[in-house]
Symmetry: C2
Subunit: 418 residues, 2 copies
Amino acid sequence: MRIKDQIDEIGKQAKKASAAMALASTAEKNTALHEIVQLIRTHKAQIQQANQADLNKANQNGLEPALLDRLSLSDKTIETMAIGLEQMTQLPDPIGEISDLKIRPSGIQVGKMRVPLGVIGIIYESRPNVTIDAAGLCIKSGNATILRGGSEAFECNQVLAQLVSQGLTRANLPAHAVQVIKTTDRDAVGHLITAKTYVDVIVPRGGKSLIQRIAEQATVPVIKHLDGICHTYIDAHANIEQAIQIADNAKTHRYGTCNTMETLLIHQAVAQKVLSKLVPLYLAKHVELRGCPATCALVQHAKPATEQDWFTEYLAPILSIRIVDSLEQAIQHINHYGSQHTDVIVTEHHSHAMQFIRQVDSASVMINASSRFADGFEYGLGAEIGISTDKLHARGPVGLEGLTSQKYVIFGHGEIRT
Amino acid sequence: MRIKDQIDEIGKQAKKASAAMALASTAEKNTALHEIVQLIRTHKAQIQQANQADLNKANQNGLEPALLDRLSLSDKTIETMAIGLEQMTQLPDPIGEISDLKIRPSGIQVGKMRVPLGVIGIIYESRPNVTIDAAGLCIKSGNATILRGGSEAFECNQVLAQLVSQGLTRANLPAHAVQVIKTTDRDAVGHLITAKTYVDVIVPRGGKSLIQRIAEQATVPVIKHLDGICHTYIDAHANIEQAIQIADNAKTHRYGTCNTMETLLIHQAVAQKVLSKLVPLYLAKHVELRGCPATCALVQHAKPATEQDWFTEYLAPILSIRIVDSLEQAIQHINHYGSQHTDVIVTEHHSHAMQFIRQVDSASVMINASSRFADGFEYGLGAEIGISTDKLHARGPVGLEGLTSQKYVIFGHGEIRT
């Protein structure tokens, strides 16, 4: 079968399955999740065997060690996938919820009912645990999903897809509610992101270049996360001890995550005090420092930062530092160089804090907390399919609610319009 | 200047203005609206003079009478525009609202703040009152907007745009917060809908072909309304008197609106009873009836409906009628032939009503009310920029809230992630 026909076939199946999923009860969806958990636990050997086949091939192809590490499924990673699904069974079911019911002067009662989006296409890179996370979130939110994982994890994803389909069947839900594309042909992605008839939204997860390419070529709407150039601004009125702890944590807790701080902004009034305490912490952890001229004058180890540095998501132990004259300059810097992901102010000055959260145009704005908190679990969404840097539909961590829509429901008593 | 450069220039101005608009106070925005109202009232002669120039040109070009009628601005239409803006000053300002603040186990407090989308491009056909409605909604929601009206209303739109800019200036808001494109060149639309750097969302208003073309070619996200193929289903358990009133009103209250019923579905158990009372009402109003074979057997005046009829938004005194065997068949018909706009069930059977609103996948689903209620004013949104048949971001009537987004705001006390 040609690739396009394969995708059309998968799309048709998904659309059909989505109608049944939209009507599935909470109990049915939770049963499916529990069945999948059990299947994962009882088929651990089979999953790891497929994973080993992927790893062998990746080794032959000379995949980088960091990517091999992400691809690898240990006992612990598999159990984490299972626990993730179990946690999803505990989340409230968003579907069918009716809110904001108001009686209007005409007599009709107007409210909103939460409904699934329909068919969600998810395109992701190597990590096979995304297959299970994404399948779980889509099942719980009453959607059908078409998954296109990285070719490196092909064998493993096929096994996981089979287990998911079995779990759905055991819960009397359509096996096609979760489908994994059975080809590594790159054309499949092109067909999937333009299959407007079958697919309601595309969620790409992976590197910036993958996401950019998908966003450019897709005709189906895309909920995307480009990059996370997160800032921490230490205000003149900051609690200095707190500022140091937050700036340390935001940079060094994990280097490779999108909510890691990449640029530190410090008000000139406190720059010397902050840097004298903070720089030794960074240097002890081998963080490379790049700074504006004022920073370089204060910090012996800092290299001059280039214009490009301020635009860069390092995802590495590198930090650029700029000393600013005012809160306004900090906000301007963030809105100009940032990626509208997550930005933080550390201050005890109430009006400064409120001005910052109002004026910084990012998906998450924080006062006196580490940017590392920008995460679906930490925000109480229970789980997330990704973090959106878009403005429309879903912004910031996207949990079950981001995978749903609302329709207006009107309860009348025979009202007609006059 | 080349068209593309003109659009880029307008886009840059809009983006700059949007930053100021996002921070404008409710008082400033309301002042601007009041100033514009005053300017409209004092410049009525000038508006009508420009409108007359447009009408003369349209007459020369042989525009259809219905279109001429929509283009024409009477004293009453102008006053309606002014009153519409005055009503907007009474609406609550959505911007800055913080909701859902919850304390998380880590100690951080997580909530959502409502913010403007940024720059909204609105592309519409002949009616010049849309210029004022759209400008008002965008001002109140803290957005900047770029308006591209129909070429037939060019002169009038230029005058209205000047008044709006003057009103903004009088309220100390940026004059460029509302800009009307100063060319009738069709290429301007192509550039506007692909100006991703400056434009956050496009709202097209007009005929289906215009909207379809824009949706296909746009790279900026589009909030759109395609067609309104609205259904009324009269259940076996309907209150027959109520059903007749609703079916009459939904079809004949106004023929040219998107929330007008185009197809009537009737359960076979009550078909004869309903049609014997309803058909005379329709015939008295010269509504052409097209029916399924069962309908044609019952209704002497009905012509056979073709497959295409079920897919058609007539926007005219034509109605297609189908007699169905069951609630399920009615739901299937609606989900297959409908346009996911507004669909109604008339029934006294509680479970049937709940099944219908859960299973019909439309922006508005109604029980025992006329589909003509699908409207921003009737739903209590205060005003609407249009009715969306999309699933993402905004669905159904789109008021101020549809022109906004939310960002996460996090209030911490020095929390770091461990």
